[in-house]
């Protein structure tokens, strides 16, 4: 009876975060069914390992970490569809720190919702080609809008490392966007 009450209490607390957990799982899997499975696996794992949750630790980042790990495992076991692997992008600078070459003028994002949706879809597809460590950070910061400190706690990275990975991920994705909107870099 006590165990059941404890589990119900735990389940109630977890349900507060189910939107975020599902959203993270979906951002990795890009598939509703798989995302739901990932959340279920994560919740089971959370229940089994609930005693590892320290008193001082917040429930939400702890759950986010478990979902991220589950999604990571799922992606690794999945036969990945071939994606264009994005390469590390380095702008060229001369010895005085000025850019070598020219960037084409940036065309601002279209106002039309439909065109924006198309760009978002393109960006999400491109994100699948990011190196795993960059993609995880990009999903959690730019899609989930978690604070960099939180992301560091979830992924076990320093804030500096989160920033570096995020910047590189954005620079890689920028190439894709520029290609689509404004010609070559």
């Amino acid at each position: 009876m006590v165990a059941k009450a404890v589990m119900e209490d735990f389940a109630e607390r977890i349900l507060l975060y189910q939107n975020r957990l599902w959203s993270i799982a979906f951002a990795f899997c890009r598939n509703q069914e798989e995302a739901a499975e990932v959340v279920q696996e994560a919740l089971l794992s959370a229940w089994k390992t609930r005693e590892s949750l320290k008193e001082s630790e917040k429930l939400e980042p702890w759950l986010c970490r478990i979902v991220t790990n589950q999604a990571r495992m799922r992606l690794r076991s999945r036969k990945r569809k071939p994606t264009v692997a994005l390469e590390e992008v380095g702008l060229q600078f001369d010895e005085t720190g000025h850019m070598v070459g020219e960037l084409p003028p940036w065309k601002k994002l279209p106002d039309s919702l439909l065109e924006r949706k198309e760009l978002v879809k393109m960006l999400l597809e491109a994100a699948e080609g990011l190196p795993e460590g960059y993609r995880e950070v990009w999903v959690l910061v730019d899609q989930e809008e978690l604070a960099m400190q939180e992301v560091g706690e979830i992924l076990g990275l320093s804030v500096g490392n989160v920033k570096t990975r995020l910047h590189r991920a954005r620079m890689m994705l920028r190439e894709v966007l520029v290609e689509k909107l404004g010609g070559r870099r």
Binding site: W22, F26, L103, P104, L119
Partner: protein, 76 residues
């Protein structure tokens, strides 16, 4: 500020972490450099579109998850 320094501060610019003096230098550079204006704009485009890419939990999936969790709770 140089182009290289602008690139190194892009993340802080969008995170609004730059101090006022750096913001002034950053903006001053952008006024004089088309390449960096393009870089800042396209980087911001990625940040903006990333936020739009977030998917909310569909109601029916949420209900399934709740039912699943309730069933697990019942079983103990």
């Amino acid at each position: 500020m140089t182009c290289q320094e602008v690139e190194a501060r892009l993340l802080a610019w969008y995170a609004e972490e730059l101090d006022p003096a750096t913001i002034r230098a950053f903006v001053k550079h952008l006024r004089q450099c088309d390449c960096c204006t393009s870089l800042v704009g396209s980087y911001g485009g990625v940040v903006e579109l990333g936020k739009l890419g977030k998917e909310e939990l569909p109601v029916e999936v949420g209900e399934k998850l709740r039912d699943w969790l309730a069933a697990k709770t019942q079983r103990g």
